[in-house]
Amino acid sequence: MPDLLSVKNLKIEATSYPPGEPPKVVTLVEGVSFNLEKGKVLGLIGESGAGKSTIGLSALAYGRGGVRITGGEVLLNGRDILKLDRGGINSVRGCHVCYVAQSAAAAFNPAHKLGDQVIEASLRHGIMSKEDAKKRALYLFRVLGLPNPESFGERYPHQVSGGQLQRAMTAMALCPNPELIVFDEPTTALDVTTQIDVLAAIKHAIEETHTAALYITHDLAVVAQISDDIMVLRHGKTVEYGTTKQVIEAPKEDYTRALVSVRQTKRDEASDQSGTLLKIDHVHAAYGNGFKVLHDVSMHLSKGQTLAIVGESGSGKSTLARVITGLLPPTEGRITFDGKELPKALKGRTNEELRRIQMIYQMADTAMNPRQTVRDIVGRPLSFYFGMHGGKKTERVGELLDQIEMGSRFLDRYPAELSGGQKQRVAIARALAARPELILCDEPTSALDPLVAEGILNLLMKLQEETAVSYVFITHDIAIVRAIADSVAVMHRGRLVRFGPKSKVLSPPFDDYTDLLLKSVPEMEIGWLERVLKTRRMESAGN
């Protein structure tokens, strides 16, 4: 059987314009080759900057921004699509090859109905009549498990949820009956419980329609569920390329082995959970418009330990952090810190109270002033809380940088000159500089690649051993909870579902929501998705 897509020796470059320097040509992808048969799925996996999206888009002969495909061939059914003119390319895109973007919320046009957008490519390429296209869209909405498929197409993008949009985007790609679909991290932006549904829908739909797919992701566990072959990429080059079974079960390269074994660290919880540092007592909170976000939440945290707050987006977990810091005063209830009740609002707290609770954010990028050096960023709390300056301050900043395993050579760097992981480390150093007793970590690793994230988690645990600092760790990732928590709070729709020591919360008997959450986390195991779906079906049949 001839290959549907055959990529040979692909080379992709971009021109970057560093300020004050002559333009520089950067090679993004080099020497990448692969083949894809009809109806098969190839997973492209790697960390950010590995070139996986760039390779995916080359199947549509498309380069984002200033990206150019400068070498190699992309053969679709034996024809090199890189040699086509604009009209030729347009007859391939949206007809033979379709694309599913990472953020469907941004990729749908807010001004048009979903149905019109889903059938647009089919109509414009003259593949089917409007009636047929509408019928096919309806069929696809059903296959993808969208609610009210008959009226779904009449809605606007802002009227449906993120998971539904992602499925609608898949329907849009499948509608013209393409031979190949490029999925660019289609589930990365979704909650785990939503991700599993979308993943199952995508898998079902491509099997049903015999469409081939390039599935791009950074999550090996996800790609193991859906692809026949896997290609591991790093820095624009192929690391390993083989069948899914071989890559997952017998990886040849060290890098792949690291990816497979990532996030398998587990820590036992502290046995003694007395000596309360933070106590949250029947807290209710609402936004300015009267919308209630927290309902009667109570939990507590012992000194030198970690409390993981886990939940999906909209569960109120970040709001709880804002309540603890005083940014959003609770409408009812109280927060006790080290035996003393904290003033509700930030304004009412003393400097000393502020110093003892510090915070690390999800996006280290936006939490740092881009025009300050690492020295200024980390030094600021030193002068603010301790009145340090001059040589003493520099010395202390150097110590802190050693503590986060970076060293004083980073003193005069700007945030833009640091990698994502380094920025998050600097943010940790800034929090540590105040010598806090409690650090609130709001998803500090969710924007990072798995290996980098693991480094940050290990650092946080090391710092806890050294300084006995306590953490409230907000996350949506059960694997992280397993790795670092002593006690766990599960939140759902602004309410506390479950709270207690880790061993108790994460073992049966479960409530329905915790059960769903735990079962939705992809495992590094081929056939996991089928297994979960099967037990789900049995359960629903049993009900």
Partner: protein
């Protein structure tokens, strides 16, 4: 009152280049309904509940209310501003050598001896009913005289808008399609040149070429009641051309910037990856989302066409509101100046309100709440 900006409309928000300063999809729509709140528990007053349930109606009612309030504020400012002007009608009318007694008599005749708050209220009461009092200079009804003049001004503005708006939007879209290529550059340079020249200069240039040297156009552009429509149209050809040249560049560049801003969004990439043609991408996927900022700048320019034609009317000796107002200012004929000021302000506020409401309507999030 002021005599209008001299070199065409001011570039609001500093839009001169590629970027749109405000987010394209929501500019002009400061208040967004909270999507979470629509389904959640809603507390608060009746108005707050209404805002959450019917965001669109609430926003439009808000705009209407604001506009009426603003108009009253402006009426107060016009009256107060004119009160504060040095010199008065009596001294201008009687000349330098007038006796204090004569000046006093005239002031009494015109009711200027009453306190200003009383005069303001009686003026406002009349204005609300459409009665702007009697001109001090000609002793005629101001409303009657303005009625004629306003018709002429609107006639001129209407034809200028009819030509300039489609032309500007079309050229803007064309410039996007040929972005950074020759047609784009030509459109940019010519429109920039037109906006950079003061309108009286453009006016005189046009008169020199088309009326004096080629003799194909009519000058002066004075119109009479007895003229037929075609005679009128040929008379206003040059002033309309001047106005079009003045307002074109601003609208064209804003259209271009707004569409370019939208063109870099993810949904335009989606459209591109559907294999759609460039024009369809611009017209169907980019344009609807660029409408709000473009409507704003169009409204601003329409308002300028009505309010700012003073200079053009004087250059072309066109009997419109602008000329009437300039004449009234020179003789301190306050009822006329006040009436003209209030009518200009009303047009300005109304057009901006209309732009705001259209921008709200162009936002699918507000048109189709969850």
């Amino acid at each position: 009152m002021e005599s209008g900006p001299i070199t065409g409309p001011v570039l609001t928000d500093g839009v001169a280049g590629e970027t749109v300063p405000r987010s394209a999809d929501l500019s002009g729509v400061p208040a967004k309904p909270n999507p979470a709140a629509a389904t959640g528990e809603i507390g608060g007053t009746f108005w707050r509940r209404f805002v959450l349930r019917r965001p669109l109606v609430a926003l439009i009612l808000q705009r209407l209310g604001l506009s009426v309030g603003l108009l009253f504020a402006v009426s107060l400012m016009i009256f107060g501003g004119i009160e504060a002007l040095p010199g008065d009608f009596a001294t201008t009318y009687l000349g330098q050598s007038a006796t204090p007694q004569a000046v006093e008599n005239i002031r009494k005749d015109l009711g200027l001896d009453r306190p200003w708050s009383e005069r303001y209220l009686s003026w406002l009461g009349g204005a609300v009913k459409g009665d702007f009092g009697t001109s001090w200079a000609s002793k005629n009804s101001v409303s009657e005289q303005i009625g004629n003049r306003l018709g002429n001004s609107l006639f001129l503005a209407f034809f200028a808008a009819l030509i300039s708006v489609p032309l500007a939007v079309g050229l803007g879209m064309l410039a996007v399609q040929f972005r950074n290529r020759l047609p784009d550059k030509i459109i940019n340079v010519i429109s920039l040149a037109a906006i950079s020249l003061p309108e009286f200069f453009i006016g005189y240039l046009l008169i020199m070429f088309f009326a004096v040297q080629l003799g194909v156009a009519t000058f002066p552009a004075t119109v009479y009641d007895s003229m037929t429509l075609s005679e009128r149209l040929s008379a206003i050809a040059l002033p309309v051309a001047t106005l079009v040249l003045v307002v074109l560049a601003h609208m064209m560049r804003m259209t271009r910037a707004a569409i370019l801003n939208v063109m870099s969004s993810a949904y335009v990439e989606t459209a591109e990856l559907k294999g759609l043609g460039t024009f369809r991408i611009i017209a169907r996927h980019a344009a609807p989302n660029a409408v709000a900022p473009v409507i704003n700048v169009i409204a601003l320019n329409l308002a300028y066409l009505v309010v700012g034609v003073v200079v053009v009317e004087v250059v072309f000796v066109y009997p419109g509101m602008g000329q009437y107002m300039v004449d009234a200012v020179t003789v301190r004929d306050m009822p006329v100046v006040q009436a003209c000021g209030l009518i200009f302000a009303a047009f300005y506020i109304f057009l901006n309100m209309a732009a705001d409401i259209l921008a709200i309507l162009a936002n699918p999030r507000l048109r189709h709440p969850r």
